[in-house]
Structures are given as C-alpha cells and as structure tokens.
C-alpha cells in the first residue's frame, strides 16, 4: 500500500458544523470516523477526497442509551464497545456477534458502527492499489468502464461486506440521518440498494447520526459469517437471523438477512415467513435455509469459489437458526474459528 495522499483535515465539534462543512465542500469531502475503511482505500487511491471531516471530536456521536423502548447508538460507538457490552446480548445477540467478528481487536478498537454501516462495497478487482488497477485498465467503480466481475453488466457488482448491517436489519434497526438542520429517520434496510457503486441512498451531505433499535423482548438473534480465517477476514457470505418465539417455542415473527452475496444486505423475507407459526425444528430450519440460500448469487469477486459459497449458504442459515433456537454451537464455533463467541 502506498502512503496516504495529501488532504485537508477538519475536526468539527458538533454534527451541525460537520454538516455545514460537508455542504460547503460537496463531493470533495468525506466523513472520517475510525478510518479503518476509508484510510486504506485512500492509500490505494480508490477514494481520494480532498477534505476529511473527522467525527472524532463530536461527543454526542459516541453515546449510547438503553431504555424500555429500545436502544439508541451514536454513530461513533466503536465495535469494541458493542462487542464488550453485555446489554448487546440476548435480543441483540446478532449485533454483538457481528461486531465481535469484524476484523481484529485492533481494528475494532478504532472502527465505528456508523463507518461499518457505510463501509464501501468490496471486490477483488477494486480493492487493489492504483498500479494494480491500472494494469487491468481499471473498473467502473473507479477510473474505468467495465465491471470485470461481470463484463456484460451495466452495474457494478462489488459486494456489500459489512457485518453489522445484516444483523441490524434483522433486528429492525432504523437510522437517523442529518444534513444541516434536516433530520430524517429511515429503516436501515431502505438505505441500501443493490448497486456496488451507489449502494447507499444516503445523500452526500448526510451524516449517519444514530442507530435506533426497537426493544426486543422475547426475541432471539444470531449472526453467522463465512470467512477463510476466524482471526480477521471480511465476510464472504453471512447470515443474520432474528425471531420472536412464543414461550412454547413457536416462531411469531422472524427476519433473515444474507450478507456479502450481493451489493446490499439481502433480506430473505420468504424464508423468514416460512417459519412463522411453526417451531424451529430441523425440518422447518432446513426448509427456510433452502429457501434463503436460493437468493444468494455470489460472484467470483471475493475469497473462495463462488459456487461453493452458494452451496454452503444453506449450512450457514442452518447454523444461525439453530443458534437462536439455543443449540450448543461450541463445536461448530471451534471449527469455524469463531474464537470470541
């Protein structure tokens, strides 16, 4: 990786001020949270903002509150804080498991929830340094014309690789976006679209201020992630599942979301619906898993063979559903290297 290019650094103390700077600089400015995604991208010249607007000095973004109606998490809460806070267990387990499996402990100490939601999409043809990309005449996501993953494609096929977003969507999270004095609240799921370049419907001037989670009494959730090494890899297929279970163990409500198999987190609504009104048995789990896996259309632009990634999606949905059913997952955890869980 090259060293960073030159840039201006601004460090406002309030979101208002940050929004003002963003509005003034337009497309030349980008927000800097933990920097664990943006700075490496800048070193590889994938993203070359002239101005960075640091969120580090904005105290309000670092707070989280829990109340009977749910939780409100500031965008700059770090993934370590989430992984270590017991309040994120039980109903919010999926978020805890997702945060705890992002990268390494060093990176989680810096990485923020807001940055993870906004994480740039990834692709083996794009996450390369400048000279490498030059030798394939670049790709449409940056400086080029073609999508090398699918040369006939009109759109970019880069992969949504955030761990927390599928989990948050499964938990019904909403986000608060601010631009200037304007604030809007949207379902996180509605913020994404299946396009590797324009994967977020966030306006350039908008700041993700807060993530809001509903209270999840009676819910269980889990997040399972496929990656080569349990120590620090990005997801190349993941499953977040959440369900409200009756005391008798019948599913009353359920959500299943697949990560890293498209340019956005993919809700598997049909599969989730198939569980409602039924207990989590091996049969209902298998049925839902097969249905969810049908949605996964991985391409050859991440680690692992794409057809294998598709094949094992069923297994991972199964793990997630068994996990939220309360099965002892120790041996699978061990085998997949989910050290911390």
């Amino acid at each position: 990786m090259m060293r960073l290019p030159m840039f201006d650094l601004r460090a406002p103390r309030t979101t208002d001020e940050a929004a003002r700077i963003l509005a003034g600089e337009g497309a030349n400015a980008m927000l800097l949270a933990g920097g664990t995604d943006l700075l490496p991208n800048m070193k590889r010249r994938q993203q070359v903002p002239r101005t960075l607007v640091s969120l580090r000095n904005i105290g309000t973004l670092k707070q989280s509150q829990f109340n009977p109606a749910g939780a409100r998490l500031g965008a700059c809460v770090t993934l370590t804080e989430i992984a270590e806070d017991p309040r994120f267990r039980n109903g919010y387990s999926a978020l805890w498991q997702a945060a705890a499996q992002v990268a390494t402990s060093h990176i989680r100490n810096m990485a923020t929830l807001g940055g993870n939601i906004c994480l740039d999409t990834r692709c083996s043809y794009y996450d390369q340094n400048y000279e490498w990309r030059k030798s394939i005449s670049f790709c449409m996501k940056k400086d080029g014309e073609v999508c090398w993953t699918a040369p006939g494609s009109e759109r970019c096929m880069a992969v949504s690789s955030t761990d927390t977003a599928p989990a948050l969507i499964a938990l019904g999270a909403r986000v608060l976006l601010r631009s200037g004095a304007e604030v809007r609240e949207v379902l996180l799921s509605d913020l994404y679209q299946n396009d590797g370049m324009n994967y977020m419907l966030r306006q350039p001037g908008e700041i993700v201020e807060e993530v809001r989670l509903p209270a999840l009494h009676g819910w269980k959730s889990a997040y399972w992630k496929l990656r080569r090494r349990g120590s620090f890899d990005f997801p190349v297929m993941s499953v977040a599942a959440a369900a409200r279970l009756s005391p008798a163990g019948v599913v009353e409500e359920a959500r299943i979301v697949l990560g890293a198999v498209a340019s956005r987190p993919l809700p598997a609504d049909e599969a989730a619906k198939s569980l409602v009104g039924r207990p989590l048995t091996e049969e209902t789990i298998a049925e839902a898993a097969a249905q969810a896996a049908r949605l996964a259309k991985p391409l050859d632009n991440t680690d692992f063979d794409m057809s294998w990634r598709k094949k094992v999606t069923t297994a991972f949905v199964t793990y997630a559903l068994r996990d939220l059913r309360g099965d002892d997952m120790t041996s699978v955890n061990l085998s997949l290297g989910r050290h911390i869980l």
Binding site: M6, N129, D303, F304
Partner: protein, 839 residues
C-alpha cells in the same frame, strides 16, 4: 527465561553421548539479541534516515508481457522535487543470482516479463513526489502474447521470454536415471501412478524489502539493505556498477524475515546504489507490500507425476518422477530449484532405482525462487501422499511402511548423496507414541482423521552458488585484555538466531558467557565472507568456523596458562570465566588474566576459523552437486483434522512433530524454528496461493496477482494456529558443531502431506494438491458419492520432449558416481572462473 515445561522433550539417540558437561550449548537461553528486539530497538532499513536523503519509487510494467518501444521521461524529470529519473539504459548490465541465469537488468531495457517488472526509477525529495512523477513517464509498449502457465509455455515457443535457455519458453530440462527403473517396475508387485500439484506461495515476511544507499566521503558506496545474502549481493553490485568490491560495503540490516525471499540480489538494491552514486546523496527505497509480491522468488508451482513400484511388503523397487515447474519471468535460483524437485527423493526411503526428469518454463509472472524447503516441499508432498496410498493398498500401517523402508545412517543413495546420521526411525516412533497414533489411525469417528508424513532436508548446500575453492564460512575472533570477545562474521542474522548460536559456540569453548561476546555480522567490511543465510547452512558451516576460531584462541590461552600454573595444558578447563585445573582448586586464572598473559606472549590475540564442506562429493555426474550436503535432518509429523462432510470445511485440530536435529544448541531457538516451519507448512497446506487472474482473453491480455496484500493473500495468523507438540530427537552428528544439524526448514516439509493424509483418514477422499481447501474436499466428496474416484487433483501431465537421461549406475550396481553416457566436455579455459553449482 523460557519455562522448562514449555520446551520440547528431548530424546537422545546416543545414551553414551558426552556433552552433559556443556554449560551454554544445549541450555535454553534467551537469545543474545532478544532485549533489543522486544524493546523495538533494531534499526531496520526502513528506519534509516540520513541527511539529504532522497526517495526512490519504481515505475512498474502494467503489462504481463511487452516490448518497450520507447520511454519518454522528460515530463517526470521536469516535475518539481524530482532529482533523477533512471531507465534501463542507465544500468544495462545483466545479473542474476546464478551464473547460468544472468537474465535480469535492474530496469527493463526493452522487454517486460510480468506485471510489476520495473521500467523506470524516479528519485525525488519526497516519496510522494516520486510516486506522482511515475505517472508522468510515458512508455510506449508493444504488447506481446501472455503466457500464464507452464502448459501454455510448452505450447507457445514464441514469443520467447528469454533468448537463452533450452528452447522456446523452456528454461531448463534435466533428466537422470540411476539404475534401470524398468527392471524395478518388473520386479514390483504393484505399480502406483499418481499426479500431484503443489501451488506456488510467497514468503510473507513481515518486513517489506527496504534499502538505503549512500556515497561515502571517499567516494565509496555503502548499501544498507534487508538481505539474506550480502556476499552475493556484493558481487552483483560490483558487476552492475562496474566497481571493485573493495569499494562497496554491504550492510545487512536487522531483518524482519526472509524465508528465501531476500536471497537474490534485487533490482531495487542496485537502483538505489546507482542513484546514490550519481546524485552524491543518500537514496532510500521502501517497497510496498504489493511490490514485495512482484519481487517474489517464492515457491514454484509444480505439477508432478510419480510412478512407484513396490513389493507386497512395502519395499520400493523403483521411482520414476517427472516434474513441471512454473518459473515465472526470470531465472532466479530456478535451475537449482528444478534439480531440487527431485534431488531428495532418495534420502528418506531406500530407493534402489530412480529416474528423475524435470522441466522449468518461463511464464509472465513474478519470478519464483527459493522459499523455505527450496524446491523440495513439492515432491515431498507427492512422495508422502503416495506412500500413504501405498500403505492403504498394501494394508500396512503408514508408520510401519516408513519404518521398513527408512534409509540407514551413512548410506550412499542411488543418486550418490552421502548421508550422515539418520534419526528417521526414532522420529517416527516418537511421533507415533506422543500422538496416540495407534488409537487414532482408522479408528476415529467419520469426519475426524490423522495423517502421518516424514521428510528429509539438507544442512547446507554442498556447493557454493559460484564455483570456487574458498571456504563457505569464516569467523574472526578478537580477545580483548579486559575479557571481552569480539566475533566478526559474514553471516546474516535474519531472525533465525545465528548471532546467538555463534556466540554460544564461542562462549562454550572459551568458558565465558554469551553476554561477554559482541557479534558483528552481515557487514562485508567487518566480517569474512559467509555465503549467506539460505539452505540451512549457517549453524553448521559458520558454527564449525566458530569452533575452529575459538579452539585456536583457546589453545593460545591454554599454552600460557599451563606455563603459569605449571600444569599440562590438556588438564585445563575453561568455564565460568576462569581457566583452571579441576584437580587443584587453587590453580586458576580469570579469563581476562589469561588473555593478558597470552597477549604478552603472542601479541594481539585474534584468530580466524573457516569451513569448507566435505571435498569431492561422491556424485561426480553433471548436476550431481545439487542435493549434496554435509549431513541431513529428518522429521516426522502427525496431523489430526476434522472435516465437515456437509461443507468440506477443514480444521486442523492438533500437530505433533519430531525432528532429528543432531543437537539443539539453544532449544528455545530450535523450537521457534520448528513452530515457524509448522506455521508455514500449514499455510501452504490450507490456504496460501500465489495465484493469478487472467482477464477474459477477448477483452484483455492482463494477468495480475489475485491478492497482493496481507489481507487477501491468506496465511494463518497466530489465532488460527492449532496446538503444536514438538519433540527433538538428538544424536550428535560428527559433521556439525557440537553435533548440530539444521532445524529451520526440514520440519516444514511433512506438514502439507500429513494434512492430506489426515483428510483421507477423516472422510476417505484424496486431495492430491495444495492448498487443501473446503471447496476441493467437497468436490472430492461429491465424486465419491457419485461412485467415481474419490479424489481432487490434477488429471493430466503434458507430454514433454525429455532429453536422453544421464545414466548413473547406483552404488549397489557398481556405480562410481559418474554417468556412463556423458560426453566429456572440453576442459574450460582456466581464466573462466564462474561456473554454476549445477555444473
């Protein structure tokens, strides 16, 4: 201090061995350079910053294969802050690590052979300026056909990557027959034919290459660089710069890992040297991780065809091995690597007849070269997996099969390698015992399995890279009146602990502590020549030189102390900083007192030691030099795995291993080498791939490294390592210093085949290639389910036009080490000094 319980158990093969009176040797000690290392104090090349220093960046080819029609550097030269722009014509002299492959220029003159091949250098005040100016260099390329694999190279003689070599894009072919293998196959009860593929991988040293060059006040050149081979680099610098070596000083800076990746003279080292001389200011280069992947010199991808004949009792009757080696764009060590893909197939199991043919091709990828195990892990993988298949078919326990066929100590092999001590059987017996093999093999539940593999490796290459009569290692010792000892060595401390081992040897002999010794190593001005840190040679070769230098100093001290104490010198003991007569407690002098006496008598006390490997190797045929070594080490490993039949997911549960290392001079260091080897073996077994992406041919000629980054090139981290259990098998080898043999490479070799064999035990499928990934396991399981061969691996070995083999009758057929069908070459003119090691 290392805790005793953390250290490996040590078994002696020689209960009568003396040496229990040793104090330094064999004790688990902190290495001499540990304090600096753990407190972050070594000055790595990239830490060096000198007044007026300029920075260099290289413009690299974006094309895998092209001719350069023209280069226009005028815009870059005019860029503010740029001091100098160099291109191929500024330093056109060819060099290369092997005298037979002088096929590199520091910057491409007119031909680029892989993406990343350097074309121009910009030297500027700031690194960022140099980087920006790269885009201002206009290169007009004529793009040539891309050759991406050895098969393609065989089928595509034109355009040639190089004008030398055998023909077309074939760099080197070798062909030998040691005894008539057809006779062996006729004698066999069963004949096994197996194809294997071993993927290429890179060294992944933590420290990226970096170098700083400066012109001294008197006009001479100093180069600080992260290298394993200051001596060979010294020679290349002299050649390319046209300067006498006496005017060049190479200082090997503390090295953050080499593993073979820093054993070629590198283009960037030559470029900053040239630039520093031209600009008369220090010039630095620090490669990015991507650039390190372009320097490469890593493991050659090798396709192999093994045909073995065996009797029902497991006795091997013959082996016919063919290898096809993917060399990448340049020669590097490739000729030697090619020989190594078959040189050591005779050194573990007794093989009466052996045919070996190998072919290395050029391809448009970064050059392959030596990586830990140099050329031997690939055929070791094939041989050990084939042994497992043989054991399976003959219904013999794999450990038992190996015990039956293991070579004997001091055997002369079919290809005339002279073995030394051999601890293979002890290694097998102990690893079987410590792992509980007998309760596990074929007895674990479906999805769990154990696999066994063994290996053999050399302790230092018997021949130098360039032919000469001089020693391979030298040591200078200076004894100071105050009791301090200065040790000057040409060796390169690359993290393996060579400074520590040399100190320990000298401390043991002189009866002092390693803390009283100061080591100066890796500096061509200060130390005598040592060939470098490669081929597991330093402990044995420099160690023996250190023994000699220390014994010479000891003899001088003993002479004067004996006179003073009036005892015969042979009564004297050197220990605890004293020289004394153990029979008479009052008869003693301190070590400094002894030095003062000696200095008064002899003048300044300085001694030298040298080491030559045993002269006149038994192998006298052409090419017989590769594989010769003063002695060989043996390893055995058992790996336990768990495989999920549903997904193919593979987890390594445990690794047990034993290594016959002669003697552990410092068990702490030896254990570090073993565990590092196992880490590297597992990386190659499970995930590492120096793999390339060819874009759709209709749209692009591009051929790019798939994942030139620390994140996307997959290798195990410490968190991914399974538990590793190690035992040393010790039995001093008379050829090693205090009996020591190598430990840095051998323990890596059995790991990948042991994993493959364990997968078979777990789920009954053969993965005949590395890396062994879940995708491949699942595919093989599907084959098994469909009733086809339960296997994943290569299916074809291409037809290769092999030259007539050199026929060398093995010792037991009355051979004398010469080929019977070699046409003697006319004697070379005496003035021509350089010859390749493979001759």
């Amino acid at each position: 201090m290392p805790r005793e319980k953390d250290l490996p158990k040590r078994a002696s093969r020689d209960p009568k061995r003396s040496g229990d009176d040793l104090r330094v040797i064999g004790a688990a000690r902190r290495r001499v350079d540990s304090r600096g290392k753990v407190t972050g104090q070594p000055i790595y090349a990239d830490d060096i910053s000198l007044p007026r220093m300029a920075h260099c960046k290289l413009l690299r080819s974006p094309h895998p294969h092209a001719r350069i029609r023209s280069i226009d550097t005028s815009r870059a030269s005019a860029h503010p802050g740029v001091y100098l722009v160099l291109t191929g014509k500024d330093m056109p002299i060819e060099y290369g690590i092997l005298p037979v492959s002088q096929d590199e220029t520091a910057l491409a003159t007119d031909h680029v052979r892989h993406v990343g091949d350097p074309v121009a250098a910009v030297i500027a005040r700031e690194e960022l300026t140099a980087f920006e100016a790269l885009d201002l260099i206009d290169v007009d390329y004529e793009v040539l056909a891309t050759i991406s694999s050895p098969e393609e190279a065989l089928a595509t003689p034109e355009p040639r990557l190089h004008t030398y070599g055998e023909e077309g894009n074939i760099h080197k072919r070798v062909s030998f027959e040691f005894g008539d293998v057809n006779v062996g196959f006729a004698e066999a009860d069963e004949v096994f034919e197996d194809l294997f593929f071993y993927q290429g991988s890179t060294h992944l040293a933590m420290e990226q290459h970096a170098s700083v060059a400066a012109k001294d006040r008197d006009g001479k050149l100093t180069l600080w660089t992260s290298t394993q081979v200051p001596h060979y680099l010294h020679r290349s610098l002299a050649k390319v710069l046209g300067m006498p070596t006496g005017h060049i000083r190479v200082i090997a800076t503390p090295c953050g890992g080499g593993f073979g990746g820093k054993s070629d003279p590198m283009n960037h080292e030559l470029i900053v040297s040239k630039a520093a001389l031209m600009l008369d200011r220090p010039v630095k280069i620090s490669l990015t991780r991507e650039e390190v992947f372009y320097c490469h010199r890593g493991r050659h991808p090798v396709l192999m065809k093994f045909k073995a004949g065996v009797k029902k009792d497991g006795t091997l009757t013959a082996l016919d091995l063919q290898t096809l080696v993917d060399g990448g764009g340049y020669g590097s060590f490739g000729v030697a690597s090619t020989f190594y893909t078959g040189a050591l197939q005779t050194t573990a199991y007794h093989l009466p007849r052996y045919k070996f043919r190998a072919c290395r091709t050029f391809t448009n990828k970064p050059p392959c070269g030596p990586k830990r195990g140099h050329g031997t892990p690939q055929p070791r993988f094939g041989q050990e997996v084939q042994m497992d298949k043989i054991a399976e078919r003959l219904n013999i326990d794999p450990a038992e099969l190996r015990l039956r066929t293991a070579v004997k100590p001091n055997e002369l092999t079919a290809n005339f390698l002279q073995l030394g001590t051999v601890g293979l059987s002890e290694c097998i017996e102990r690893v079987v015992a410590m792992s509980g093999w007998k309760d596990k093999f074929r007895k674990l539940p479906e999805g769990r399995g154990v696999g066994l593999a063994c290996s053999c490796y050399l302790t230092g290459a018997g021949l130098s890279i360039y032919w000469n009569q001089m020693p391979h290692s030298g040591i200078l010792l200076k004894l100071d009146r105050g009791g301090g000892v200065t040790l000057q060595a040409g060796t390169t401390e690359i993290g393996q602990g060579s400074d520590d081992v040399l100190s320990a040897i000298v401390a043991e002999i002189l009866g002092i502590n390693t803390a009283d010794i100061r080591v100066y190593s890796g500096d061509t001005d200060l130390g005598p020549v040592d060939l470098g840190s490669y081929s597991s040679r330093v402990t044995l070769m420099a160690g023996n030189a250190a023994v000699q230098a220390a014994e010479r100093a000891k003899a001088m001290l003993a002479e004067v102390v004996a006179e003073r104490l009036e005892v015969p010198p042979e009564y004297l003991v050197f220990a605890n900083n004293h020289v004394f007569d153990p029979g008479a407690a009052e008869k003693k002098l301190t070590f400094p007192e002894a030095i003062c006496l000696a200095e008064a008598k002899f003048g300044t006390i300085g001694t030298a030691g040298s080491y030559w490997p045993p002269k006149m190797p038994a192998a006298k045929y052409k090419g017989g030099g590769v594989g010769t070594s003063p002695t060989y080490t043996y390893s055995a490993a058992i790996v336990e795995v768990e495989v999920d039949p549903n997904t193919g997911w593979l987890r390594v549960v445990n690794v047990w291993n034993t290594h016959d290392l002669g003697r552990a001079l410092n068990p702490t260091l030896a254990l570090g080498q073993v565990e590092g080897s196992i880490y590297m073996g597992l990386g190659e077994a499970l995930m590492e791939e120096q793999d390339f992406r060819r874009l759709p041919k209709k749209l692009s000629h591009a051929l790019v490294h798939k994942a030139p980054s620390m994140l996307d090139y997959k290798s195990l981290t410490s968190l991914d390592m399974p538990p590793v259990y190690t035992e040393f098998v010790e039995g001093p080898d008379p050829r090693g210093p205090f009996g020591a043999k190598e430990v840095g490479q051998g323990p890596m070799l059995p790991i990948a085949p042991a994993v493959a064999n364990a997968v078979f035990d777990a789920v009954g499928v053969r993965i005949d290639e590395v890396p062994i990934t879940p995708e491949k396991i699942l595919k093989a399981l599907a084959e098994k389910k469909a009733g086809r061969a339960p296997r994943f691996g290569p299916k074809h070995f291409p037809q290769i036009q092999w030259p007539e083999p050199l026929r060398v009758p093995p010792p037991w057929e009355g051979g004398d080490g010469r080929a019977i069908n070699d046409t003697p070459k006319p004697p070379k003119p005496a003035a021509k000094v350089e010859k390749v090691l493979s001759r």
